[in-house]
Symmetry: C2
Subunit: 318 residues, 2 copies
Amino acid sequence: MATIRIPEPVPSPAQDCEKLKKAFQGWGTDEKEIIRILGRRNAAQRKEIRDTYQQLYNKSLLDVLFSELSGDFRKAVMLWAYDPAERDARLANEALKSKRKSITELQVIVEIACASSPHHLVAVRKAYCSLFDTSLEEDIICHVSQPVQKVLVSLVRSYRHDKEVVDSTLPKLEAAKLHDAIVAKKLDDEELVLVLSIRNMFQLRQTFKFYKDDYGKSIDQDIMACGKGTLESIVKVAVWCIDAPEKHFSEVIKASIVGFGTDEDSLSRAIVSRAEIDLMKVRGEYFEANKSSMDNAVIDDTSGDYKDFLMTLLGANI
Amino acid sequence: MATIRIPEPVPSPAQDCEKLKKAFQGWGTDEKEIIRILGRRNAAQRKEIRDTYQQLYNKSLLDVLFSELSGDFRKAVMLWAYDPAERDARLANEALKSKRKSITELQVIVEIACASSPHHLVAVRKAYCSLFDTSLEEDIICHVSQPVQKVLVSLVRSYRHDKEVVDSTLPKLEAAKLHDAIVAKKLDDEELVLVLSIRNMFQLRQTFKFYKDDYGKSIDQDIMACGKGTLESIVKVAVWCIDAPEKHFSEVIKASIVGFGTDEDSLSRAIVSRAEIDLMKVRGEYFEANKSSMDNAVIDDTSGDYKDFLMTLLGANI
């Protein structure tokens, strides 16, 4: 369900590095060549390219990209060039250090905690410690106020079982716990937060199904009926990221391009972070929800190299 | 600070496997040979031996050990032969499934959470999911009642920063938070549990130092003054495992041999799990605390192959 297209056969990392080096040389940078190479390699291949570039030219590819590119294009290419765990650690840190800490910023932390594998989440926590000399959860405590703090700290401490194992005795019981907390408008309720943080995805999807069957409305509808604050949005994003990440990312992309101006940071994050996971499903979900093409929307709202890069990640030939 | 003695040069895994195979053959098992080989190899070397044994003889070394050995000796050798993360996942599972869930059983979970590296703790959580089709925290919720449940769940979800970085603005403030909770006899207080679960070891040691300086008594004394229940013991063990694991393990060993009869499970666990980490320090701490030799105490309370195995892990020549 990835959208990126890797050529067959794929050039060797040394060949890629040589071409990249050429693209950086001379009067102007050959952005198209950079897009054609990096935009069509998966995370493991990009890592090999980074390592090989360092060995061959004794320079960090990331530093060179930073100095040669600019604007939203640079930001998006850098996100893509980082190791995914380091990328997410940096995104989380940026969100926590931002002045505004609305859902637009903080949702990245929920995405990392609820729409990633347990292995990836741990790798992000590890990268966070290495990069910032403090842990992700310590920074959440330092920079986010209650009650959102409590929910985020608990979510990032997850290590969900990733096999499809469902304990059939739990969904009804835990749907009731969730419902009790939501009816009481206590979205930072200890049991609610714990259930969302420790149960595996398959288990929780069953619980959400029982919730709808038993109480008439879907859990996300009931959550949003509690209020319009950051807490409600954070819990709703957690539920969506667990239940159907493609719904969440389709909404992030829609929100980033709707109306006047574009939120390039959100748009880049959604496309870069899902291009190797489920961007095909995101595209389908976008079409379902908006009855229009996500790719066309991206084309209409972006331009130049930035547009070409995003479209390459979406599988287009530029 | 490890006590095991690895021969120099160390035989190849194939040579070790051949000798092990011979030791299993014939009328009786050559337990001494098994002890001499396995008791003098570190975790990485034991893994190589396991892998090589499987390749050479198409049999699991662990299965063979199980069928050839017996009693406390078998239990101890098996613990030592497992991959350390798998060993700890199994120990935690055994504790959670046991009928008695006193501090004697449950403290193993605190040891894993508070006296291990963040990397090891995550490896244990991963192994737990693989072995038992549920997560460690889900099993804690299923088998341990409140308020101990809440403390254990939070501790096992740690990923402590492992560099020696101390934020000097925190110890006084957090010592006060801990003191407030302890004075109120609320050892499952949300802030207390969070501080013990997310701060790194160096930070917490400073906090415990400030606690003593500011409030006169050490934090573990104040915790134990709250009561004699499992909750108090669990929180005290967490503090010791963070502050000075050797103190905790010295006490575990002492408790396992004191009085009538020996608690072989606790004795084996303490020696096996610390032999490659800090058993030398545990020995020193034992002597400080009891004015007698830990090694002599182990010799007095054990016998036969079991004794020889433990003493080998303690560095003796048998």
